[in-house]
Symmetry: C2
Subunit: 382 residues, 2 copies
């Protein structure tokens, strides 16, 4: 847009627009981009967002595997690597290792752009505002650990969220934000979790526990004992680990969810039957979520979702049986499209949304006025 058009569009005064444009230009977040068609007089210069103005470091940390990456300000991955690291090693070890990987990534893309923020996903409930895991069941040592403080020497915002939430944000932002307002993303991997997008934003809930529906009780499995102390939880029946354990007890070499998927892809009928039944059980919980939330789109991801359409077929059977016809009339139940890349993409989007939020731009303007320099983040250490 041009400056005059921004004044017209927002109703904000010319002087305020000029001040904010200057601060954003100083920070490199926008650039002048040619002139608009002249309507008489001197043509006004157009400004546009500059996604190459900086870098974001991101990590999607799972229980035992994940990804680390560096992106631009549009969430585009510039370099990445696998993070096959056990979260159970604890925050000290894992975060020191993570910082090493971040440094290597910055080396690989070059250090000629400032770092604007860091985004991290972890496999447990997170108090997002504080950047701490809260009573995470599979993250020994992380409960209440101040993740942002550990990475404070970068001098940039460090945002932390649940791994399923950042995957939901990644899928929503990449494939759905132009067409729908509400979306559920369900991850079926070692465990089961859900990310909830309402009106384009993540719904995290009062304790950051929204979407943790792995311990909802399902029908027909009262004998299944769950790690949580109850019986019949959906995670104790339909998670990748639960299916792997059942097949292993029947003599299969399936220590993990990924091994189950390999069996299904190789055409094994018993493994296929087990994944389809897991889909039906998951469908019970999703049917309740559909009746409760009435989403436009449900995206199913995670390792087990890679077992062809078997999981999804089982889910669909039960959802269409147990949900209100009205709520399923236009419901789209689809597989995830980003695969393992959803997490790092979503972590980057989470950071960029913060950087470009009105409050952050206010701070840029204030810093420019105080002569404190235009970029809040540090330039990456060499």
């Amino acid at each position: 847009m041009t400056r005059p058009r921004l004044v017209e569009y927002t109703g904000v005064s010319r002087s305020v627009i000029a001040q904010r444009i200057d601060a954003l230009l100083d920070a490199g977040l926008i650039v002048e981009d040619g002139a608009s068609a002249s309507t008489g007089g001197r043509p006004a210069a157009r400004v546009r967002f500059n996604h190459d103005a900086g870098r974001v470091l991101v990590a999607d940390l799972g229980a035992t595997h994940g990804r680390v990456a560096v992106t631009d300000l549009a969430g585009t991955v510039l370099a990445e690597e696998p993070a096959d690291r056990s979260i159970a090693d604890g925050p000290g070890v894992v975060l020191d290792w993570l910082q090493d990987r971040f440094e290597a990534l910055l080396d690989s893309v070059g250090r000629d752009r400032p770092l604007w923020g860091i985004g991290i996903g972890v496999p447990g409930p997170v108090e997002h505002a504080a950047g701490r895991a809260v009573s995470p069941p599979i993250m020994p040592g992380w409960d209440g650990y101040p993740i942002p403080e550990h990475l404070s020497e970068y001098g940039v915002p460090v945002l932390v969220d649940n791994d399923v939430n950042i995957m939901a944000l990644g899928e929503y932002w990449t494939n759905w934000r132009h067409s729908v307002d509400d979306l559920l993303f369900i991850k079926v991997g070692t465990g089961i979790g859900c990310g909830i997008v309402v009106s384009g934003h993540l719904h995290r809930g009062a304790q950051g526990a929204a979407g943790d529906f792995g311990h909802v009780r399902v029908h027909g499995y009262d004998e299944a004992i769950c790690t949580c102390g109850n019986t019949g939880c959906v995670e104790a029946v339909a998670s990748g680990q639960a299916v792997a354990d059942r097949l292993a007890a029947a003599g299969y070499d399936t220590p993990t969810a990924r091994a189950v998927v390999r069996e299904v892809l190789s055409g094994d009928s018993e493994a296929t039957r087990a994944v389809r039944e897991a889909g039906r059980v998951l469908g019970q919980v999703i049917a309740s979520a559909v009746n409760f939330f009435n989403p436009s789109v449900i995206v199913i991801g995670g390792d087990v979702a890679n077992a062809r359409e078997q999981l999804l077929a089982g889910v669909r059977e039960v959802v269409y049986q147990r949900s209100l016809p009205l709520a399923t009339r236009h419901l789209r139940l689809v597989p995830a499209q980003l695969g393992d890349g959803a997490g790092v993409r979503g972590a980057s989007v989470m950071v960029v949304e913060r950087i470009l939020a009105p409050a952050a731009v206010d701070e840029l303007v204030e810093r420019a006025a105080d002569g404190r320099g235009s970029v809040p983040g540090a330039v990456p250490p060499a």
Copy 2:
């Protein structure tokens, strides 16, 4: 606030602020309210919202009983009356009757203020943007009926929503909006439904069906046949009508949920046991909702909630047993406070939010600029 303070607070130019203040003053929505403390020079005049600037007509139509009322622009009820009218009489009869009641209410409070809008709650799913019920199970003849067109002669916005949604909005707005962002309101009356507030706004879902969880399957009641064609639905077991039917089969004179409440309040142990068990069954569904949504507050209302604390006690038993400890750590599970008044209060809030939305104020400014008069709504017909 004063005009200079508004300029400072919003960053909007003085001329735009002046234009909008003038339009709002013309419409009577704000008034001059004395002067602020002088800081040298002429003291600036303060303006404030004028809740007495107009009237809102509202109706909370249940299956067989409800309320109609006229409020000011703060949602305060100025006059009201019961609406013991069967929704099954169909839209033509019911809406003609409603218009008669609206006229009587306007007569009773005087016609010296303009009418700004009409808000109506109905007992079924609603496509809110169009103001039409969508496949409502207990509203014969209403499916797709254009309610706003029927009342178009008033010349004001006519907003329609589900009755449980407006009750949720009424409870949220009156008792909770200053302290929490997210809330579930669960109505246990003849049927069972839920209103969902996310970040201070109603979440209606893709087809307006969000919160319609009456047909979620519960454990231990596979023999209960539901009107929807499935078995074991929570509404077939724990709704006021289901409890009334079970007690009636045991020889009680309980044709309705209200009759059940009378028995409980009179100290009957069998009725008390039945309501408490209904609470436990409802608790199964609420536990899932807690795991899924992680709300700060759950408010339980509707006729059956008036049966002392029996229903709530049953709900609490199961919610604390089947929800994640993290999600129930600070959860408040409380009875509704507004009783039968929640619906009309919420319907009024729904209308006032629309009247004061930025787009509506834009329209006021445009009308003033075009010389089309300052009030979009008609003055009530005499």
